[in-house]
Amino acid sequence: MVDMAENNRAVIKLRERFAADIVEVKEFRGEVTVTVTKNNIVEICNYLKTALGYNLLTDVTAVDYLGKSPRFQVVYNMYSIPSKDRLRVKAQVEEADATIDSVSGVWSSANWLERETYDLFGITFAGHPDLRRILMTDDWVGHPLRKDYPLQGPDREPYKGRLS
């Protein structure tokens, strides 16, 4: 199935221009995922938007692979309204340097989505115009969607089932 991913128009173009940044190209259930290093994420996103027509940034989120290196993957789900196809770009972010450049200058929809990722994962978006917590309160300590954040919260005993 690798061929299908390699024949994707965006993958061909990205391989030409950003060969050094591409870590992996994967295809699963007809969806193409391109994993890149975080260094040129703004240039890559800008190129995908302006040259390849991915004009709608559907979603920005992250996945915490606790215990693996790099620990975080920042996930950009994008969509091209003219050609009606999707592309997923993932950028690798290390725990020690949990920061990545903001793409809010490319798509303004990234503004709140990056704020949410910062809030729940603690990944800093450099160059973001207004990086504040959005779902949790301003004085909250910790980032709830990290895998090492306990489900019941930091200051409570874990739920052990019903007592009766």
Binding site: T58, D59, V75, N77, Y79, K84, W112, L113, P144
Partner: protein, 390 residues
């Protein structure tokens, strides 16, 4: 020397026109809006975190608690995402019932939107009429799933049960009567001078800005972008039905109102086609590894009981991988991004919330208008805080 002085006004979190617990801090220059800072998160329940600790079946009821005005549409996106992850094919009858119920949900959601939007602007009659009609959809919901709002009717692989006897008759009644109700609403509003003054030219956002801001759904189509996931990336058998995708021209609140009203009429057409298409057959895929066994087996045989216990407690393991499934919710594109590590629980479930992204454009839409028009902008965005905060 005239000096510009702004006043800060707090709106919400308990305000009738914020449709939930939304707080807006507004900076005003006289009556003109200079800046809006939304504060959200009051309803945050950590649904994404909770789902990481539940099996795929157990995470399903969390989803209809997000957009509580359109529960079945939320369920639909989730089950489609899990089915995509598993590579499961759903029986034809289940697909058709899903389309009928998802479109009924669209009617239900749009009726609440119209009711509250009209009430915010001062048209009380429409509010009462819309809730009267919504009740008919709620009755079908209750007969199907036992609940009026938290339906949890779909299952991974199909439906929890076949439709009740008389379902076709109830749906046919909606098909027959609802277009007349829509005429009533249009009669009350479309040429109403007050309505026109409050909505025409209000909350304008150009197509380019709307795409840039990530707006999806009827709000994007109101800005003239001809894009609908049901037509352009069909799922659950939507490719079989013919329907129009309405678009606006002037990108204002009135055009978005027109778009949603046409969408309601088109939803009735889709329901009508799907009802004609409804053929007898199974409603759950024949996959013992994934699906619950039929109830008569559970009650009458030990194998069935063990099977049920295994699926309910342990669930099923999904193959390693990641999928994204977007569906055209009444509010916009609702997406589920599932990451599986091969275990029986989602490693990560991300919900792409349409209302959250749509709300982020509020400043762009309301800046420079009068504060009284802000309630019309909130109404036209059609937000649900349960889904914004998750």
């Amino acid at each position: 020397m005239a000096q510009k002085e702004t006043m800060t006004v707090n709106m919400g979190p308990q305000h009738p026109s914020t449709h939930g617990v939304l707080r807006l801090v507004i900076e005003l220059d006289g009556e003109i809006i200079d800046k809006i800072t939304p504060h959200i998160g009051y309803l945050h329940r950590g649904i994404e975190k909770l789902s990481e600790h539940r099996t795929y079946h157990q995470a399903l009821p969390l989803t209809d608690r997000m957009d509580y005005l359109a529960p079945m549409s939320n369920n639909l996106g989730y089950v489609l995402a899990v089915e995509k992850l598993l590579g499961v094919e759903v029986p034809e009858r289940a697909k058709t019932v899903r389309v009928i119920t998802a479109e009924l949900t669209r009617l239900k959601s749009h009726l609440v939107w119209l009711a509250c939007h009209a009430l915010d602007i001062g048209a009380m009659t429409v509010f009462l009429y819309c809730f009267r009609e919504r009740e008919k959809v709620m009755e079908i919901y209750e007969k199907l799933s036992g609940a009026r709002m938290t339906s949890n009717y779909y299952r991974v692989g199909g439906l929890s049960a076949d439709v009740y006897a008389g379902f076709e008759k109830d749906v046919q009644e909606i098909i027959d009567t609802f277009p007349g109700f829509f005429d009533t609403y249009e009669g009350l509003l479309t040429k109403n001078t007050i309505w026109l003054q409050r909505t025409v030219g209000n909350g304008v956002i150009s197509a380019e800005d709307a795409i840039d801001a990530g707006i999806t759904g009827p709000a994007l189509r109101g800005s003239g972008v001809d894009w609908d996931l049901r037509r352009d990336n069909p799922y659950s058998g939507y490719e079989k039905y013919s329907f129009k995708v309405p678009v606006g021209e002037k990108c204002d609140t009135f055009d978005r109102y027109k778009v949603r009203l046409v969408e309601m009429r088109e939803a009735v057409k889709i329901i009508s086609q799907a009802l004609n298409d409804l053929k007898p057959g199974p409603v759950l895929a024949d996959l013992p590894q994934v699906c619950y066994p039929p109830k008569e087996n559970v009650y009458n045989s030990i194998e069935g009981l063990i099977h049920h216990f295994k699926i309910a407690s342990e669930g099923f393991a999904a193959p390693e991988g990641e999928v994204y499934q977007g569906v055209e919710n009444p509010k916009g594109e609702l997406g589920y991004y599932l990451v599986s590590d091969g275990s029986n629980k989602p490693y990560r479930m991300r919900v792409r919330p349409p209302s959250f992204v749509n709300l982020s454009a509020i400043e762009k839409m309301a800046k420079g208008s009068m504060i009284a028009d802000l309630v019309a902008v909130i109404g036209t965005l059609d937000i649900v805080l349960g889904e914004i905060d998750r």
